[in-house]
Symmetry: C2
Subunit: 317 residues, 2 copies
């Protein structure tokens, strides 16, 4: 059942033993917003624990001391933050089959919880948790502000993406006034490349080819190179975004060889329908980001992708 | 003579034929803040023209219609925006030997103008011009807000750099509320790589070597590769920043071969004194960014840089 911010705050105020969950493979917004909500509720004298199927990445411990021993009590109330679908909780979704309250910013939230509070214009769950603070009567402090800033800046690519609003900046300004060490936080989040990411960038740039007068950029990542580089999923996300960023490119395609011999294509576009391109190859997705798979040879996969892209580019002209 | 914001606004209000200058090789803050000040003063019924020795890059015309025909009148009053030193005006500094007012955010401003208004905690000149608006009684509109947003975001690397403050975000929030098309603006400013930049990234990554247990990253850019890529100074700045961004790297060195056979080193560090390293090679600069030149062979230049870096890294431990 969809509820307002006020109702969500009232529900939380009535509880004393609370478990805060966030989605698996958590990013800075999942960890930041869940941690901030936990600390706010703890500051009101409540017993609160935070859990994530994937644990808490070390980076967030460096940033705002995200790993804490919250004790091992049995919770009376389960809150899921930044989690659009119960499935995204992973095994914790089975362990805690009833989620009492979801606090989220995804327009696609499946309303799986008993009560659901969604602000779908918010750029990050951190914005939603920030809005709850005065309703809960919880004061912010440096760690809470840093956690929320990490959430905001993660989900907006540091205020670059088009989900950023005037409100996102106004909230960032208020958070920073608690003394967030912006230089350090942003360096860790946005100015540090792993060595494996550098390796993959090299592989990607060396395989980069242009087609159709420079409007399509094609990158191939062979399995041997990926294995040698020790790549993570995060790194791969970043590489898929690269071809589209090149001046004049409308369609960026990254084709990755997998261990089972199949190929996975990630299509990113600026003004061409990526889902239409991938649909022609048996895949799908969103307008600007879509994917498909091939159990063919590399040459056949590449030819099929170029042909599909050409068709959609010609149709849309 | 150093003056306050109020005094600067009063001086501007007394003038009717104003020339607004900004530094040559202008970035988004130079063009954005000069353009915004021009439009504000024009909105008050004044005749105002904007000039820059290098002209106005096409990008800023796309972003907020920066190129306008302001007429060719003889100005009674010359204002320099975002310009710390008269020399940075280029030939315009000779053409207009008296600068009546400087509006700036550089702590290093040389006080070359008759009157100087500097806010040295401001991340961008755009913040300073924004502060003048209410004192001038000038209303903002979408184009002025976009120009100021471009200034703010350019000088902070889109709110990443440590010069960003709570106030920067609060101003950004207010500017965006005028309807700035954030998605489009940020795509042009921060998510587009030129093809020549992609070429240089490839050259840089293919030459990347690590030394001293991964704490020093070394990149070499041969002249032949630079010439083939059609590189600009902007592109080179970006490449010099790359080695330092790699996880674990304390010193990033980029050595570039020049047309006259000499070599230019750019040293960027995270926690080692870059100026000290370059001083050992006859150069200098800042703590985290410094440079030096070599009229030796490549091998000698590289060996000298590695030796100087090793000494400073050892001393600082």
């Amino acid at each position: 059942m969809i509820i307002t911010a006020e109702k969500a705050a009232n529900l939380l105020l009535q509880q004393d033993n609370i478990l805060v969950l966030c989605h698996r493979n958590p990013d800075g917004d999942a960890i930041g917003s869940a941690f901030a909500l936990k600390k706010m509720l703890q500051s009101l004298g409540k017993k609160v624990r935070m859990e994530c199927e994937s644990g808490i990445p070390a980076k967030y411990d460096v940033l705002f001391g995200a790993r804490e021993d919250d004790g091992d009590f049995a919770p009376d109330y389960v809150v899921a933050v930044d989690t659009a679908d119960r499935k995204l909780l992973g095994t914790l979704g089975q362990q805690y089959p009833t989620v009492n309250l979801a606090v989220d910013h995804h327009e696609t939230n499946k309303d799986y919880a008993e009560f659901t509070y969604v602000e779908d214009k918010a750029a990050a769950a951190a914005e939603v948790v920030f809005k709850l603070a005065p309703l809960l009567g919880a004061k912010l402090d440096l760690r809470i502000a840093t956690a929320l800033y990490v959430g905001l800046s993660t989900d907006t690519g540091c205020f670059v993406y088009s989900n950023t609003t005037a409100n996102t900046h106004i909230i960032a300004g208020e958070l920073i006034s608690y003394g967030v060490n912006l230089g350090e936080v942003n360096k860790i989040l946005f100015e540090t490349k792993t060595k494996s990411r550098v390796e993959i960038d090299k592989i990607a740039l060396n395989s980069l080819e242009f087609f159709f007068g420079g409007e399509l950029a094609f990158v191939f990542l062979p399995l041997s190179a990926l294995e040698a580089s020790g790549v993570s999923e995060d790194d791969l996300d970043g590489v898929s975004a690269m071809p589209r960023q090149i001046e004049g490119v409308k369609v960026g395609i990254t084709l990755r060889e997998r261990a089972d011999g199949s190929y996975k294509a990630s299509v990113r576009t600026t003004c061409v329908n990526a889902a239409d391109i991938c649909a022609k190859c048996g895949g799908g997705g969103h307008k600007r980001a879509a994917g498909c798979e091939f159990k063919t040879s590399f040459e056949e996969a590449k030819a099929a992708l170029l042909e599909a892209a050409k068709q959609v580019m010609d149709e849309e002209e």
